[in-house]
Subunit: 240 residues, 2 copies
DNA sequence: GGCAGGAGTTCTGTTGACAGTTTTCATTTC
DNA sequence: GAAATGAAAACTGTCAACAGAACTCCTGCC
């Protein structure tokens, strides 16, 4: 049961084990290896990762704070199950944050920053035309993170990122049609136009409109209702 | 050194020690008992609170996530020192969040919710006329939190609260003039008008304007540059 | 057949102890 | 007198073990 060898946890000592465990757990959650509702057994995780329960506990609490995990006293921690309503709230919040970043960036973006954003939009255009959904998806995340980094504060970047990770808890079946990619990238271009023109209000409005568009595209997707494999006899699932 | 008795930590067992310790540490930080830059010695805190290092460690990491504390590997955790620039960023973020909450609330506030907000504004009006700064301050926080709870999502409420706590790290010398209180409450009334009219855009604009006003009032205050008492020979301070 | 009750197991919450790193401080050297 | 050196102290990171709560599953009862 204890798969210690292949883990990267035994190499680095320059950062704490807890942060490494946190990264690994986050990867497992975002990849779907630990699906929403599944339990995070401290002992089992510790054994699996070849560390003791201390760092695992610390990592799990961190994920709780960032919103990926829900903890109940004396019962344990579970991968968060995001309802559609909560997901819509997340979109609204992200819209507010993107708007904030766009507004701030419009007044102070450097030539280099604008060029980088333009480049990303062009690359997304290529990906959309080639129907390369995975590549578009990755570029899209990069674009958003770059935008937030340039326009937002450190805190805003992290919060926005946390919210984005939350969405992967429900976004599962996101097979995107090329038409949707073009639509999405069109909104990116609108943001870029606002930034290039130095029009803070236009950039903000475009940013918010883009997230609202994403919200609509999300709603249009068929909901992936688990179909839990249930191979292992998991004992406890998340309550409520 | 070990003041165990008066602490409320020994009574409750229905929630984890770590959460109780976190609450106590937060209180100590917000009250200024642990000023920015000061070190959080795990051993000393554990002894002082009558628990072991585990829960203390967990609590400190939680505070790190929420922004009140900064942790350096192998060096420890320190109460965060907020620069003026960071504080201004926080105001901007809070403006975006309040705007988001006001916009959402305008469309769906119930009669009871509007009445509660109106009541708070009236009470603040009384406090401002009576020059009761402490009471105004408390009511103001309640108003903001109520507004966020009604209009925002769970996540937004917590994030907004975290940002507010961060501001106390620098806001220290906030002796408020009655004139400022009236000004601030006038902005509250503008928000209320927007909500009562069901005008989402007006409510949002008023919410953002209020936080911008708070930002200006913050900038107008004299900065309280520590004047660290340095009674005890504290060993280490926060680097950088 | 379904349901209440209780022993056994599992797992979390907490503690105390050990190892390694960082800091402190006295001593030496220039 | 100031900088370098090295030993001692302090503290963090990690681990292993214990106590108590929660869950599971079996047994007995209706």
């Amino acid at each position: 049961m204890a798969e210690i060898s292949a883990s990267p946890l035994h190499i680095v000592r320059t950062q704490s084990l807890a942060s490494l465990v946190a990264g690994e757990l986050e990867r497992m959650i975002l990849s779907g290896e630990l699906p929403p509702g599944s339990r995070l057994n401290e002992q089992a995780l510790a054994a699996r990762l070849g560390v003791s329960r201390g760092p695992v506990r610390e990592a799990v609490r961190g994920l709780d704070r960032s919103g990926l995990v829900v903890t109940v006293v004396n019962q344990g921690s579970f991968v968060r199950q995001l309802s559609v309503e909560e997901a819509l709230d997340v979109f609204d919040l992200r819209a507010a944050l993107i708007g904030y970043a766009c507004e701030r960036l419009a007044g102070r973006a450097t030539k280099e920053e604008l060029e980088e954003l333009s480049r990303l939009v062009r690359e997304m255009d290529v990906a959309a035309e080639a129907d390369a959904a995975a590549q578009y998806f990755a570029l899209n995340i990069t674009f958003h993170n770059t935008l937030m980094s340039m326009g937002g504060s450190q805190r805003a970047v992290r919060f926005y990122g946390d919210l984005g990770k939350e969405l992967t808890l429900i976004r599962r079946k996101g097979l995107v049609a090329p038409e949707r990619m073009r639509e999405s990238n069109g909104e990116h271009m609108a943001i870029l136009r606002g930034l290039l023109a130095g029009d803070a209000q236009a950039a903000r409005a475009a940013g918010e409109a883009h997230i609202r568009g994403g919200k609509q595209r999300f709603l249009a997707l068929p909901l992936d209702n688990g179909a839990a494999p249930a191979t292992a006899p998991r004992r406890r699932q998340q309550p409520a």
